[in-house]
């Protein structure tokens, strides 16, 4: 294997030794964990909620699936996943009831038997390198009364603490950008997904419209660190965030990276003019 001595990687616009980046990223997110949601709303004017809703809509998960929510420390994706699968189950129940206006005795008997089982249990595992983020997420789950279907695991996206072929769905929302080796994280995602499993990534990407791109750049670099300072008392973390967005591969390049990791039927969906993109791929 290659020696990592002297190799460097990006941390925002700084170039830092590789071993330092993981620690720097950890500190960035530790310092922003508590103000995370407030800053998300302020930065995106609340639109990040729509982006996450759209991710779930495209995913369209059926009840009973196992989700790995990577870099999902505060639980936004997992909460939506559980809510979505529960509402899917309820919808299916209503459709079934509607189609059985005059059920036969066999159908009635089958209905009673299946209802005793209750809905198939969907499960979400939230995995984040930052224990502080996981604490925030656990507290939010507790506050929302979510008692089943969720577990919280501290782990690194490049070295997932899970066995092969475990999950039906893998999501990473606003986290792949902070990984030191994106290829390694993609390969890990491939490894832990079951055959037929789906990879989905929600991440800041390249704005396609030139005029919007200039407005977006000005907003990003001028406003977001200021909001970070006033709301979270932390200029540098948000300076890092906007810089890392610029450094991240654009939609097409990232699509190729996902394909190189072994995924098939890779496609992406631009949201809000390409400010964020959802990438999707399947493991066969």
């Amino acid at each position: 294997s290659d020696s990592t001595e002297g190799r460097s990687t990006h941390f925002g616009f700084q170039t830092v030794p590789e071993e330092e980046k993981a620690e720097k990223v950890y500190k960035v997110f530790e310092s922003v964990a508590k103000k995370y949601d407030v800053m998300n709303d302020a930065m995106s004017l609340g639109i990040h909620r729509l982006w996450k809703d759209t991710l779930l809509h495209i995913m369209n998960p059926q009840p009973g699936l196992r989700l790995l929510d990577t870099a999902g420390g505060t639980g936004d994706i997992s909460f939506r996943f559980l809510e979505y699968t529960r509402s899917m189950y309820d919808r299916q129940q209503r459709l079934r009831a509607k189609s059985q206006q005059t059920p036969s005795w066999k159908d009635i008997a089958g209905h009673y038997v299946s209802d005793e089982e209750g809905p198939p249990q969907s499960r979400a595992v939230v995995c984040d390198i930052n224990k502080e983020m996981l604490k925030v997420g656990k507290q939010r789950a507790e506050d929302a009364g979510i008692t089943t279907g969720l577990s919280w695991v501290a782990g690194d996206a490049e070295e997932l603490p899970f066995d092969d072929d475990q999950f039906d769905m893998y999501t990473i929302a606003f986290g792949i950008r902070n990984v030191t080796h994106i290829e390694q994280a993609l390969q890990e995602a491939f490894r832990v997904l079951k055959p037929g499993g789906r990879f989905m990534c929600l991440e800041f990407s390249k704005v396609t419209n030139p005029l919007l791109a200039r407005l977006y750049d000005a907003y990003s670099f001028q406003m977001i660190p200021v909001l970070g300072e006033v709301i979270a008392g932390d200029w540098k973390s948000y300076q890092y965030l906007v810089e890392s967005i610029r450094k991240f591969p654009d939609q097409e390049i990232f699509k190729e990276m996902i394909e190189d990791a072994g995924f098939f039927r890779v496609q992406y969906f631009n949201l809000t003019g390409g400010i964020v993109a959802i990438h999707s791929g399947f493991k066969l």
Binding site: P17, L227, E229, V230
Partner: protein, 271 residues
């Protein structure tokens, strides 16, 4: 990796034989991606304006966000800092401070010597202030948004001197003491942040304390703030042995009209 070079913390011998650590002024622009000093964050005029409004709002909403008070001071105080620096330059002791750039930190204080000083001396009473109020000079926020490294030092010096003003004025860190010091600082420095603090601080006082401020303490603070010698131009680090009475007299500061600190001790009480 662009880190801080060892030379950054270099020291040099002054004409008085003291060794000083120069934490400011060693940097040049090309070394730090546009930063003028290690904690500097370069900002545009628009960003400073938004920071000023945002920090003002945040400080009003939550008085304990000292970081926002600090940001407000930095983003509104540019012209005033120039005047303060000029006052320091025109004072022999102040110009020495600007040249040597001493820092008041636990690491720069000789705590054992200070604690051995007689009661009523600046060093002993400052130490007592720190101990009784459970504060440390190391908690002062670093200056970030001042785009001039000398003015950034002036702002930093103001922050580090603040607790010494509490000692000098005989004011505790309760709300009334803080407001009195703010009134003094507003009159003394003219910093917009101090004026705002002086104007809004009384809103959080109880009626009896408000009366005390209105009747005597406020006028005393304003009068003495206005006429005192520039408090940033005092090399406190070389005056720990001086008595508070003597220093007040030298600075043209009257004793406070009421005593807010029960344990206050003056050398005159021993005579």
């Amino acid at each position: 990796m662009r880190g801080l070079p060892g030379a950054f913390l270099g020291s040099f011998k002054t004409s008085y034989g003291y060794l000083s650590q120069r934490l400011y002024g060693v940097l040049t622009e090309e070394k730090y991606d546009g930063r003028l000093y290690p904690s500097h964050i370069p900002t545009s005029t628009v960003q400073k304006a938004i920071l000023a409004v945002g920090s003002g709002v945040a400080a009003l909403k939550n008085p304990y966000r000292h970081d926002m008070v600090a940001v407000l001071g930095e983003t509104t105080g540019h012209q005033t800092l120039i005047k303060l620096r000029d006052r320091m330059r025109n004072d022999p002791e102040g110009s020495t401070i600007l040249l040597e750039r001493p820092r008041i930190r636990l690491s720069t204080l000789d705590l054992s010597n200070m604690s051995a000083l007689p009661d009523g001396t600046l060093g002993r009473e400052y130490l007592r202030f720190l101990e009784e109020n459970r504060v440390t000079p190391d908690t002062r926020a670093e200056v970030k948004f001042v785009d001039n490294e000398e003015l950034a030092y002036v702002m930093q010096r103001y922050r580090e001197v603040h607790d010494l003003l509490h000692t000098l004025l005989g004011m505790p860190t309760n709300m009334l003491g803080e407001v009195a010091v703010k009134w003094f600082e507003a009159a003394q420095t003219g910093l917009p942040m101090c004026i705002l603090g002086a104007a809004l601080g009384p809103l959080r006082l109880s009626v009896s304390r408000l009366q005390l401020l209105g009747q005597s303490l406020g006028l005393w603070a304003l009068r003495n703030g206005g006429r005192a010698r520039c408090v940033l131009s005092i090399y406190y680090e070389r005056r720990w042995e001086q008595t508070l009475d003597e220093l007040r007299h030298e600075l043209n500061i009257e004793e406070p009209p009421v005593s807010l600190i029960a344990s206050i001790k003056n050398s005159s009480s021993k005579s």
